[in-house]
Amino acid sequence: MFLVLFLMAHALAHDLWIEKKDNSYILYYGHTKPKEGEERFLAYNPEKVIKFECYDEGGRLKEARVERSYPSKLYGQCAVVYGLFSSGYWTKTPEGTKNLPRDRVGNPIESWVSYESVKRVERWPEDPSKPLTQDLEVVLEGRPSELSVGKKFTLRVYYGGKPLKDALVSYKGKTVGATDSEGRVNLRIREEGLQVISASFRERADGTKADYIIRTTTLLFELKL
């Protein structure tokens, strides 16, 4: 368990998020709450952006113009904006952690490949409990209109379109639980404003380039009273 938490900590060391500016959505990578010595925005290679998509209220993929640069931008009227990113291979060595696959460093201790995704909800889809992708994704179970500060609500975590057990779920950066066999976890909204809910899990990799695949996803939505 400690190894899992350790790896999750590495995977979660950087955040992926989407900000809205005028009529565009911007995909950022870095630290939403940088500590001393940390940069808020980390420049990334646009090729690391695997998906940057726009969905309508029906949960259908919608045409949108994507500017593949740093930072990547998406222009469109979207109910949901979704981004999938890979920060690549990471290998821990006696000299430190390197952003390289296991077979490209000497004395590897352990290694992983990291995939991060973010789903920003502007308007809830008609069926908010349905995943939009086959990637790791957090969906809301129940009616969005029932969300309120202090009240519990249920989320489900999906991967490959199926509920995922044992995903660690965090709320505003704090781990609050793990999903059950139906992929469910209960949370409570603690304050209004932007809600940041993340889920992570790891699976075994081929062992050549990486020991593990670590997948992390973040659900972003605004709660206004």
Binding site: M1, G150, K152, D166, L168, V169, T175, V176, G177, A178, T179, D180, S181, V185, N186, L187, R188
Partner: protein, 337 residues
């Protein structure tokens, strides 16, 4: 979360006073607190074991030997237990109490100490866990930190088996042995206990947990080797507690709680050969102040318990009974694996 993610521990307090009563509890590093005497409403995670030991060290108030020719001095009630989570909502326990009782007795103008030690009656117990989360339901396998702040309840029941020696007695002054059921190790007959607990970790102040526990302990009449019949008075308890999380270090798996409890105890009069023993039983309110330290899957609890108020039957005739303690020191050590 999976109940083990934050080293969620089930800590069972099973405190035998001179007759015995159960208290059960559980806690994680950020979950509800667990007092020393008041049962909490936590069940053991499914498939997990709990090893448990508790010491209840009692110092009795002493009086002039003119008033009481025989006086209980100090008792050590050890409890060794093992628990297992059959289901997330059903835990079972086996407890083996070990008692050391000391009584200072008068003999020809001097005194001697009669000491009895040994294992007391084994006890079996089952705990059914419930919670209120948009409806009453059984405790699920997984609970998030927010789920742990829901109202949790347990119904528990147990039975003791008459495995210990109920006829152990002092033969120094009387070769036939002096009849003193409260200095024996066993009750001679099974006892039955059943209870209810409620626990609430405060949503807006998660460091604070409120707990309530009520239970009833039923004794049955036993005929001793002497031919005497004796029945201990049944016990009713209503305990409340507050546990406050003072300190946590998630990285090192350390948590420190401050515990305060108010325990009410009503004891019926004992019955000897069908007759009520008038100088037995009564009502007591105890106060408990203590703390509990958690380190990963270990927990160490320490506390002091004193009578705050009492209304005992023929109080001036009672010595070495509940309500007549100078103090009780309580220590527990638990391991979940």
């Amino acid at each position: 979360m999976k109940r083990s993610v934050y080293a969620l521990l089930g800590f069972v307090g099973f405190s035998f006073a001179h007759h015995g009563v159960a208290s059960l509890g559980a806690v994680g590093l950020e979950g509800p607190g667990a007092p020393l005497e008041t049962s909490s409403s936590a069940t053991l995670p499914q498939g997990r074991w709990l090893l448990y030991t508790k010491l209840d060290h009692v110092r009795w108030k002493r009086y002039s030997f003119e008033d009481f020719s025989d006086q209980k001095s100090r008792h050590d009630f050890w409890m060794f237990g093992v628990g297992y989570g059959l289901k997330p909502w059903l835990s079972v326990y086996l407890f083996a109490p070990y008692y050391t009782k000391r009584e200072v007795k008068s003999e020809d103008g001097s005194t001697y100490t009669y000491r009895v030690s040994g294992f007391a009656d084994l006890q079996l117990m089952a705990v059914l866990g419930l919670k209120y989360d948009r409806g009453l339901r059984l405790v699920p396998e997984r609970e998030s930190l927010e789920d742990l702040m829901d109202w949790h309840f347990t119904l528990y029941g147990g039975v003791s088996l008459p495995t210990a020696d109920a006829n152990k007695r002092d033969r120094r002054r009387d070769p036939q042995g002096e009849f003193a059921p409260d200095m024996a190790l066993g009750f001679g007959k099974p006892t039955i206990t059943f209870g209810f607990t409620a626990t609430k970790q405060m949503v807006n102040l998660p460091a604070l947990t409120f707990l309530l526990d009520t239970s009833y302990l039923k004794f049955f009449e036993h005929t001793y080797n002497t031919g005497d019949k004796f029945k201990f008075g049944d016990e009713f308890r209503l305990n409340t507690a507050l546990a406050y999380r003072l300190y946590t270090d998630q990285g090192r798996g350390i948590r420190l709680d401050l515990l305060s409890e108010v325990n009410y105890l009503y004891i019926q009069k004992d019955r000897e050969n069908g007759q009520k023993v008038e100088d037995s039983g009564g009502q007591i309110i105890y106060g408990v102040l203590g703390s509990r330290l958690y380190y990963k899957n270990l927990s160490l609890g320490l506390g002091v318990k004193v009578p705050l108020w009492k209304d005992l039957n023929q109080e001036s005739q009672q010595q070495g009974a509940e309500g007549k303690e100078r103090y009780r020191l309580i220590a527990t050590l638990s391991l979940l694996f």
